[in-house]
Amino acid sequence: MSRFVNNDLRPIGHGRMLRKEDPRFIRGKGRFIDDIALPGMLHLAILRAPIAHGRVLRVDISAAEAHPKVKLVVTGAMLADRGLAWMPTLSNDVQAVLATDKVRFQGQEVAFVVAEDRYAARDALELIDVEYEQLPAVVNARTALDPGVPVIRDDLAGKTDNRCFDWETGDRAATDAVFARADVVVSQDMVYPRVHPAPLETCGAVADHDPVDGTLTLWCTTQAPHAHRTLYATIAGLPEHQIRIIAPDIGGGFGNKVPIYPGYVCAIVASQLLGRPVKWTEDRSENLTSTAFARDYLMHGEIAATREGRILAIRTRVLADHGAFNGVAAPVKYPAGFFGVFTGSYDLEAAYCAMTAVYTNKAPGGVAYSCSFRVTEAVYLVERLVDCLAHELDLDPVELRLLNLLQPEQFPYRSRTGWVYDSGDYETTLREAVRLAGYDDLRREQAEKRARGELMGIGVSFFTEAVGAGPRKDMDIMGLGMADGAELRVHPTGTAVLRVSCQSQGQGHETTFAQIVAEEIGIPPADVKVVQGDTDQTPFGLGTYGSRSTPVSGAAAVLVARKVRDKARLIASAMLEVSVTDLEWTAGSFHVVGDPTMSVGIRDIAMRAHGPGDLPDGVDGGLEAQLHYNPENLTYPYGAYICVVDVDPGTAAVTVRRFVAVDDCGTRINPMIIEGQVHRGLTDGVGMALMEILAFDELGNCLGGSLMDYLLPTALEVPDWETGFTVTPSPHHPIGAKGIGESATVGSPPAVVNAVVDALRPYGLRHVDMPLTPSRVWEAIRGNAQPPC
């Protein structure tokens, strides 16, 4: 039922075309960070803390320095001499590049070695002798603020406890009043455990500092090359025009590759000191134990409703574990990201959230794993609460949601926490999911199975996302407004180059953005080359995360193409010898109104723009344009998900049998790529709901430090996805598109958990915390459910 067609070579853009980036990847010709080898390149390895909390008493590097292949060994004290031992985080905190005073999480960077090859660098790490005075580790966020607990951040002047920040949103008094008069109040504690994005390619960099001309070229696994360049200028004091950041092919990011990591800074310092290119690449354990984790929210949620099931208000208290440094990568005015959308897809009378964030002896991070700046946690909270309410009122979860979903005429809708949802037709989307799933038949099957003692569950979630950060009046990261640039050049023969500030990590920008331009100027997508990920080659912008590429850079691409088209219109009017007002743009060409035989396309116009002969008065030669796009609002994609699970009563193992996902991301540019994005997020959701957790023991040892311990879904744990869609365009995006990259990661975990809890209904359970591993489900069935951390 797709209204899109194959269009690779036709002069029109939107539709299901194959990806332009695939030919290199299927030949093994992608160029990832570890594929980069420069003449004379050396290898850097990092010594990491074996304990979670301790004073660094002594670091002896003499034996490492004596290793015949070692070129350089650097400690925190040596960086401190250069003023580089600490660096700013993206949340106005500071983070140690190399520890000077204390180590504050297991895996923290303590020293680095540069050697002739990667094996020798690792060997030399073993030769560094560090003496620590071990301190008690603060592992449990619940007790981090208790009296007598060691202060982790004694580096911060005047810091006397482990409080990171307090934050609130909504109207407390109004919410309390609604709760006081509500027929029904349901409350539930729930944990969104610490998880990790674990992109298949770990983080890394190759730094090449030219001692003669002072330029620094940094190939780096970054989702935000321009922001990184400005921050390196700030951190390292390098002139910004002499820094060139190149993000090559990125092997998955999911937010893990937004922050600046100490390893990047170490590689830069090493190249400066040695005058040679230096490569640093993490191993998997380093990635899992030291780079941006996600979630780690302990939530107490309350929902108030009428006896009939009309939801009135939501109130929540959140304890957020931020780890040892506040490394959250979110717009600065939003310390809790966009958690404020916890009011979900429902029309409430009031809402309130109070949050406390704490430091613990764990790795920094928090905003990652396709979370849309914490919308993931918000959606999990509200969609679990709604199911708890359905359980309490003995209502069907679909019926309860239909009773409360926002109606189309309410858009644009201002939520009780101040978010302005741009567009939506929620009921249509939920009914489509119900239809695709065969919901009524599923309920009948479930009833029959329950009668036989079998455990089958059906889980529903309805989510609204908030993506495409964002309006620069509200949103910046480290003082950089969240707008994005685009530059389009049409060559004389009518092919084009688009330069954008976002950076694909697998999302297919080279295809989607070519399609956008193709649609706007009437040339085939095959004739549009997309350049990204090189700060010397692309206009400034904040990069790809939070599903912002299509909402922000995509809009920039549309508008820059229209700017080119406006100029082309002037030239076309001269070529056709008619007034510009007599021209209309249809099917990729300018036509004279009333005379279908008179038309001219971009190719002929491009040659005229570059060729001999005069152009109309006031029109310069060439056919190119550049602009920055400042979004007026976020976009609010949404979806309805239905998950079907079977639970084995003998082993407590959960099998996801079916998963139906109906997404509405507004105008769809390439449905194949959109479905791929949805499939990925659904897999994330199954992983988080059933398997994934970064747990710690009481000493702060990370228990998920390898892929043997941190479990990711394989092809055997996930079903063949069933997807559908509705199309409700965004009113403010120039082609009505919304982001889709994270919708399924956001929306699917509650669907899976709701399904498992539904399956366990015969045991009287209303909630079980993720991950729903066999052992945890087994304990829950026996009434011994415990939070995972």
Partner: protein, 157 residues
């Protein structure tokens, strides 16, 4: 050893892993390094016709044996059907797991020309993809199987 049909003779450290030998010494960077623990399969190559994880094979152990990598799938300018299948069915996004997936898929189809969905899922279950959710990889392998079946029918007619 023979790598992609060519004899290779090198002095190496005894501890050198096959994945690093292929990447750093021979420049065959299509084989990737993802986890160190044999869990992710980004490093899958063939050793004497069988897929192995080259992060847990010493290069020295491969001495005298045949190694095949993703760079050898395309022959005489012709893509292997599994390569075409992955493009046709969106079986890749970031492309990092793709070479390993392709080598496993090729080995599967060589011994089982028409695998079921479950057989495909089992064949790739030792490998992790963080982007596709696997459904399109399954369809890619099915596409290649159908393509080869069609090709064989055409050849015999």
């Amino acid at each position: 050893m023979r790598v992609n049909g060519a004899e290779v003779t090198c002095e190496i450290e005894a501890r050198l892993l096959l994945v690093h030998f292929l990447r750093d010494h021979l420049g065959l960077t299509g084989t990737h390094w993802g986890c160190d623990t044999s869990n992710c399969g980004a490093c899958a190559v063939w050793l004497d016709g069988e897929p192995v994880k080259s992060c847990t094979v010493l290069a020295a152990m491969a001495a005298g044996h045949d190694v095949r990598t993703v760079e050898d799938l395309e022959r005489f300018g012709e893509l292997d059907p599994v390569q075409r299948g992955f493009m046709e069915c969106h079986g890749l996004q970031c492309g990092f797991c793709t070479p390993g997936m392709l080598m496993t898929a090729r080995a599967l189809l060589d011994r089982n020309p028409s695998p079921s969905e479950q057989e495909i899922r089992e064949a790739i279950s030792g490998q992790v993809c963080r982007c596709t959710g696997y459904a399109t990889i399954v369809r890619s392998v099915q596409w290649a199987a159908a393509e080869e079946a069609g090709t064989r029918v055409a050849d015999s007619s």
